[in-house]
């Protein structure tokens, strides 16, 4: 007994120590796995419930697998209109905000001028303002004006709001790209006799284009998913998120999950493609 106990402990100890060392070395990876799982769980539920075959109106309990709703993704009243409207607003607001924001970013990075601090402040503030205040203050303005095209609220007022909140995000994204910009390439073009206009289109623009594209992707995804600001500026006009909100009281059609999944797949796909394209550009 006297000899058995120490040998037993001796055999046990390294195992425990080894287990502890293994735990210490891997605890962060296990944790990261759980955190990613936690982040993706609702996304998986959204995708899964696009294949559900609910008994009644509400799509909250898993009843059985079906492809019916995938074969008929727009087969419910009002959904097609809402999706088309969201796409239109996202497209137009992205176009406008990308142009306006890129011009601002160029001015902020390229030129020293009076009032720069104030301009920076004006860009940062909308991103630091709660969405509900952005939407609510626009609503008070539209109500105070009280006549078309601002009131009653419409497609036009949603578009104004979306361009407004997108500008800052475009500026920040493009500016990040411009900050590490190789100025000597432009100087070389100018030395070789190109004027400023030619230099911009032949040298500057191709180089900052990936940044502009990233900004446009961001703006598009912010616009197509915006609920809070749209809720305050849309009136009776229904975008896709507004459609979901309206239906959430009486039961969300399964098709909404199908469209949500499609948007997810398309967004992930376009980000992957733009990343790969950028990587190939850098390699070339």
């Amino acid at each position: 007994m006297a000899t058995a106990a120490p040998t037993l402990r001796h055999a046990e100890l390294p195992a425990a120590v080894r287990a502890w060392r293994w735990f210490r070395a891997n605890v962060l990876f296990m944790y990261t796995g759980f955190a990613i799982l936690y982040l993706m769980l609702p996304v998986m539920v959204i995708i899964l419930f696009g294949f559900n075959d609910p008994a009644g109106r509400s799509n909250f309990v898993w009843q059985g697998f079906t492809l019916d709703y995938w074969l008929d993704p727009l087969g419910v009243a009002g959904l097609a209109n809402a999706v088309v409207l969201s796409l239109e607003i996202a497209f137009l607001s992205t176009l406008a905000a990308t142009i306006l924001g890129t011009l601002i970013a160029l001015a902020l990075v390229r030129y020293g001028f009076r009032g720069r601090g104030a301009a920076n402040m004006l860009i940062a503030l909308p991103m630091a303002t709660p969405e509900i205040v952005l939407g609510a203050s626009l609503l008070t303005m539209f109500v105070a004006i009280g006549q078309p095209p601002f009131f009653p609220l419409s497609f036009f007022t949603i578009l104004i709001a979306h361009i407004m909140f997108n500008i800052s995000y475009v500026v920040v994204t493009v500016r990040a790209r411009l900050a590490g910009f190789p100025r000597h390439l432009e100087e070389a073009a100018m030395d070789l006799g190109a004027n400023e206009w030619t230099t911009f289109w032949k040298v500057t623009f191709p180089l900052i284009f990936p940044g502009i594209l990233a900004a446009a992707l961001l703006a598009f995804s912010l616009s197509i998913d915006d609920f809070v600001i749209t809720n305050f500026t849309s009136g009776k006009t229904q975008t896709f998120p507004m459609y979901i909100y309206a239906k959430s009281r009486i039961g969300i059609p399964v098709q909404v999950n199908v469209i949500g999944t499609l948007i997810f797949v398309i967004a992930v796909g376009s980000v992957l493609i733009s990343t790969l394209a950028q990587r190939r550009n850098r390699a070339a």
């Binding site: 306006l100 001015a107 949500g260």
Partner: protein, 337 residues
């Protein structure tokens, strides 16, 4: 045009800025003024509104009636910010220091939820946390949880929803700050005998963990001593066994700008949120955002709603200013986001 610009080079930046900034002045700054004016209105949508300075009573009336909602919103947002920080920090740390070749993939997975609808994600939590949903249903069937146990429609669900929504906003700035940390500084600290952090870690862990448990217990309305003891035990274990002195003295202080930016990016939108409270809460968990939304869009009581929004905005700016001074970071206020 070209010749004109060449002669007036100093005008170029202003011409580039003009269209975009004009848009922001018209549709961001001006609406803010209009909201201030609206808060001094009286009347109704049917009879028309009139402006008068003596309508400052809108503010006192709004505050006396709805101050409880502000307090609740601050509590929920603070809890969500702390929880997001606790979840995000180890995640950002692992990606920054141990990510290796998977770094970009992991970062992509962190932001991937943004590619699905915010509303649908919140509604998903309703499915996940449901009384007999995929998490609690099986646990109740086995008898591990009592039948009447519920998370949905409680403050815990609302705070969980907020925590989930803003996790990427907390993770990314912390990751960016950690990524910039010079690894040689950490090695230098270890060379200078920075080892495990046993005694300090135990004490700090007990104090922080216990305090946190108490705070969350208070906000959730559960038995606070239980959470406080649990928090203290967990804090002591983590502090003593998993945290090293070099992390406390070098890495963590250098990552504070990221923590600062992340907590603002979580706290500010949480304060204005009303979707989580609406879908995951009950009438007693309504936040100030729900009140503002309801006053504006259902009751069309624009003056009160504008006063409430204005108080929210002003309180937020004041809090950000105090917080910026306390932590001494100027990243957000100088516009370098």
């Amino acid at each position: 045009m070209g010749a004109f610009l060449r002669r007036n080079r100093r005008l170029v930046p202003y011409l580039l800025l003009a269209p975009g900034l004009l848009w922001l002045l018209l549709f961001y700054v001006y609406p803010g003024f209009q909201m201030a004016i609206t808060s001094f209105w009286s009347g109704s949508l049917e009879k028309g509104f009139t402006f008068a300075l003596e309508n400052w009573t809108n503010y006192t009336a709004a505050l006396s009636r709805f101050s409880g909602y502000y307090v609740r919103s601050i509590g929920y947002s603070a809890a969500a910010t702390i929880l997001t920080f606790l979840i995000a920090y180890p995640l950002a740390y692992t990606i920054a220091f141990r990510g290796g070749r998977a770094k970009n993939l992991l970062l992509f997975l962190v932001v991937a939820p943004f590619f699905t609808s915010f509303l649908l994600r919140t509604i998903s939590w309703k499915i996940i946390l449901g009384d007999s949903g995929i998490v609690f249903g099986p646990l109740k069937d086995v008898g591990l949880l009592p039948e009447d146990f519920r998370v949905l429609a409680t403050p815990v669900a609302v705070v969980s929803g907020l925590t989930y929504d803003f996790l990427p906003f907390m993770t990314l700035p912390i990751y960016v700050a950690l990524e910039k940390v010079d690894k040689r500084l950490v090695e230098a600290a270890q060379d200078l005998y920075a080892g495990p952090w046993r005694r300090g870690g135990t004490i700090v862990g007990i104090v922080l963990g216990g305090g946190l448990g108490l705070l969350l217990g208070q906000i959730f309305g559960y038995w606070p001593p239980f959470l406080a003891v649990g928090g203290a035990v967990a804090g002591a274990i983590i502090g003593a066994l998993l945290i090293s002195e070099s992390f406390v003295r070098v890495t963590f202080p250098l990552s504070l700008p990221g923590v600062f930016a992340g907590s603002l990016l979580t706290f500010i939108p949480s304060m204005g949120d009303y979707i989580n409270a609406e879908f995951l809460g009950n009438p007693d968990t309504r936040m100030i955002g729900n009140v503002i939304q309801n006053r504006f869009l259902t009751q069309t009581d624009y003056p009160t709603a504008a006063a409430l929004s204005f108080i929210l905005m002003a309180g937020m700016l004041a809090a950000v200013a105090v917080y910026a001074r306390a932590l001494g970071t100027e990243e957000l206020t100088t516009g370098r986001v």
